[in-house]
């Protein structure tokens, strides 16, 4: 017991045994801490290949909410809501499956397959088309907000040239990590596009740019779709019928450990521990008037405080 207290004091409290500076704050210990954090990341990265299925994201992203939130953003910007299109959702599902099957996270597959192929494959003859991708978000609102924060994705969501939307949420193993991918496709059929006043057009292959000079505002809420695609390659998916009778939605597996959440937890614990030890160190050294050569504690506290803020700001999920 006494030895344990001595060891703790040695690591966390300035005293004679650690040259009046908590051992945790010595450069050698901090360097060791860096190695531990890096090793922890390697452990998280390679544990799936060792058969330890401890990774995964427990997410709940109903596609209908993604569409609803998207239409809310459009309406608040004075744009017409997008119509749910089952064909586009099938194309989105095909894109999601393709990403999982080929193990890529990109708009264009490694074999050169472009997003527009999936539109054509399901028979959606587009005049304008767009694609937003998101992965590893824990809820639909955070995914939509992330898209809105990105100028290019925001442009897709708030473009008056699009009439239809299709969304698929696909779960599976992407490059060794359990992942939830949201594929959001936008489009306007060729016949519909002829009714849109085109002010400007580019020659881009994937999507011709059209700007309607007088976007109309509609006060009516967007019509909720009757069918959504949500697929998972998990071995035993369970589907349930909803009250509407048309929506098939997979029941989520039991909670899995999220690499992001565990990393954030470890990061928070590390930074807070260092902050506390630095504060204790500063108080003790100041009271005892211990002269020593070292960095400025206030500067270190400021840096760690900023680091704490960055850790708290960081959000799970990537968009493309």
């Amino acid at each position: 017991m006494y030895a344990a207290v001595e060891t703790l004091a040695h690591y966390f409290y300035p005293r004679y045994s650690n040259n009046h500076k908590a051992k945790l704050l010595h450069s050698s210990t901090l360097f060791f801490l860096i190695l531990v954090l890096v090793a922890y990341q390697f452990l998280l990265q390679f544990s799936p290949s060792w058969g330890l299925r401890i990774l995964g994201y427990a997410s709940s992203i109903p596609p209908e909410q993604v569409i609803s939130l998207t239409n809310q953003k459009r309406q608040s910007s004075g744009l017409q809501p997008l119509e749910f299109n089952t064909t586009l959702s099938q194309a989105a599902e095909a894109k999601g499956r393709d990403m999982l099957a080929k193990g890529y996270w990109a708009h264009v597959a490694p074999d050169g397959t472009e997003p527009w192929k999936f539109f054509v494959d399901v028979g959606y003859k587009y005049k304008y088309a767009g694609e937003n991708l998101a992965r590893d978000f824990s809820n639909p609102a955070s995914a939509v907000e992330a898209w809105m924060a990105s100028p290019s994705h925001r442009e897709n969501m708030l473009s008056p040239k699009y009439k239809d939307i299709g969304v698929a949420v696909v779960e599976g193993n992407l490059a060794g990590v359990d992942t939830t991918i949201v594929v959001q496709l936008f489009g306007t059929r060729q016949a519909e596009a002829s009714q849109v006043t085109v002010a400007k057009a580019s020659t881009e292959t994937e999507a011709q740019v059209a700007i309607s000079p007088t976007p109309q505002v509609t006060p009516t809420p967007s019509k909720l779709p009757e069918f959504f695609v949500q697929v998972s390659p998990q071995p035993t998916p369970v589907f349930e019928q909803t009250s509407s009778g048309g929506v098939a939605q997979e029941q989520k597996p039991s909670l899995l450990i999220s690499p992001f959440d565990t990393t954030r937890g470890v990061s928070l614990a590390t930074v807070i521990l260092l902050l506390l030890v630095f504060v204790v160190d500063a108080i003790v050294v100041s009271r005892r008037k211990i002269p020593r050569i070292g960095g400025r504690t206030f500067a270190h506290l400021a840096f760690l405080g900023m680091l704490l803020a960055l850790v708290l700001i960081a959000k799970a999920g990537k968009i493309l």
Binding site: I34, Q41, A146, H300, M306, K318
Partner: protein, 86 residues
Amino acid sequence: MNKLARDIQHYIPLIGIFLAGILGFLMFSFDRVFQATLAVGLAVAYVFWGLVHHHIHKDLHISVILEYIVIAVLGVVIVFSLLFRA
């Protein structure tokens, strides 16, 4: 505390850099590359501040430089691990 008040003109720019970093991290939450670059930039600025500050006070030693570098690298590792996992 007296030291802190005496060097306040040194600490204000440091705090300003860190606040700007937090703001940039928030505003460019959609751009991981920018966030990663920002994290490295902040770490470098922190080490550079330490060098200048201790040089002015004529107490710049290798152990001091190492201390700033190790803490800066720790910060970068933590931010990168979060960005990589996000």
